[in-house]
Symmetry: C2
Subunit: 297 residues, 2 copies
């Protein structure tokens, strides 16, 4: 129940292959996106696609026909007939003899997409999740959504080993973001999250959560959050396209908010679910908010 | 004129393919090595293979039959009939549905190897190379030789744009290493290079160069080198398995050592070429030296 497309061709999922000379494999020399579809619509497609273009531009993958790529994504989504699904795609710089600097034989960028059913997040909402902290050993351009994800894998595996659902990267006592999610805290009455910058991904769900909070009358503040204050926070949660919003009830083994999802987090989730399941667009949601998706260049 | 082997099978080079579900492609979740062969021998094989094992261990790719992998490398090298060649190989964690934490469907690690003729470095030795500096935006575990090489690609492309052969990563005014090489300076009478640590790869040629210097009676010092003192250095050079030793004659547009390879660098290259082309082993070279290949854990 997975649809796979490679360079515009829908192929058999289990047998899907790419060139062994793909620079994605040798260098992680590519950019990816993950979009959740709700009730037949790619939610936040424009924001994801704009971020995709920005990441490509930052690593100077320029020889791309973006209209063609957008057409492929839409064609694959139609063919998949999965109205509620998760759509992954990436584009690498091309294929060629391995060399840091691509040679004359580079060829065109390589596109890979797959679509699978959306995850069921109800258990996580009902029970909350445990998270651990992990040293932020990543590179200094985490705003670029590249295929260099080994530290994220290492952090996520460390979390899994102790039964946690996610790892939060920590640099100098401050939480940057999750291994594959954005991090939020309710501190006092405010919703707090880290400002955009090179240390975190300009998350699309982050922007949605900030907009939802404003709709709910929750004051939002963008500043770094320390591990120490997280342990004292009223509520914590993470968000991402696939995870949606998951309440954190345990951090590094310390129970939080009485071990239960907190009221503001649950209110945000409720509003998020109503919004996404109604077929309302991302643009409708964020229209009146004052947050930018992408950090200043 | 390239031999390719995938999971122990020698395959047609141009048509070589890997599974689209390879974690190397999605995450760069794998480890690689590059070994130069001289006169029919894989020079420094044991050191490279030890480093390979160490990198695998650091990212916890454990389900590997290393004897089998070693057998594949030797079989491929025999089949290639290229006594002077460059041997690249990598091993990724496996294939499976994309998830930071590998699922039950992970399968076995995926091995890819190719062998191509050794590069001809004579021009670089005769003329020297130009290099640029580039911000060290890499992750904090550069001692692990992983497939997460996007910053190296970015730096190398920036160098190429201005006609330079290599980029030197700089962190806080100090040079860490090249995008795909180790960095050395002759400062006064001494050969200076950065100490091993998480910031640089434990380079095999680095150890060879230090051993050669000791044979030549050149005092060696391990300490970080700043950009400022590099501009005043008597001589600079980089080394790697493929590049061997290349004299630097221009740094960020500033001519160095009168724009010509310096005498100590040329003496080191001369000794290096005699050593490697004689078929003498790496172990013979480093036997009496006091340097360690791998940093303390």
């Amino acid at each position: 129940m997975t649809l796979v497309m490679i360079n515009g061709e829908i192929v058999d999922s289990a047998a899907a292959k790419v060139s062994a000379w793909d620079r994605g494999l040798f260098f992680g020399d590519g950019i990816y996106e993950v979009i959740q579809a709700y009730v037949g619509k790619l939610w936040g497609f424009d924001q994801h696609f704009r971020r995709f273009q920005r990441s490509l531009r930052e690593i100077e993958i320029t020889d791309v026909d973006l209209n063609e790529v957008e057409g492929w994504i839409n064609r694959a989504f139609s063919a998949a007939k999965m109205p509620d699904s998760l759509v992954y795609f990436h584009l690498t710089r091309g294929c060629g003899i391995r060399s840091n600097v691509p040679g004359e034989d580079l060829g065109r960028p390589q596109f890979l997409l797959y679509i699978k059913p959306a995850p069921d997040n109800r258990k996580y909402v009902a029970e909350g999740i445990s998270v651990i902290t992990y040293p932020d050993i990543r590179w200094k351009r985490c705003d670029i959504k590249s295929l260099n994800l080994l530290p994220n894998v290492m952090a996520a595996r460390a979390a899994k080993k102790v039964g946690a659902d996610e790892a939060l990267f920590v640099d100098n006592g401050l939480i940057t973001e999750g291994a594959s999610s954005c991090f939020f805290a309710i501190l006092g009455e405010n919703l707090v999250t880290r400002p955009l910058g090179h240390e975190i991904l300009p998350s699309v769900t982050r922007q949605a959560v900030l907009a939802l909070a404003q709709k709910l009358g929750i004051q939002t503040v963008e500043r770094p959050i320390s591990v120490a204050e997280s342990l004292q926070a009223e509520e914590l949660f993470v968000s991402s396209s696939g995870r949606e919003i998951r309440p954190i009830v345990n951090l590094d083994g310390h129970p939080l908010s009485n071990g239960k999802p907190g009221p503001k987090t649950l209110a945000l989730i409720d509003t998020f679910l109503k919004h996404t399941r109604s077929g309302e667009s991302f643009d409708d949601l964020v229209r009146d908010t004052r947050f930018e998706l992408l950090p200043a260049q």
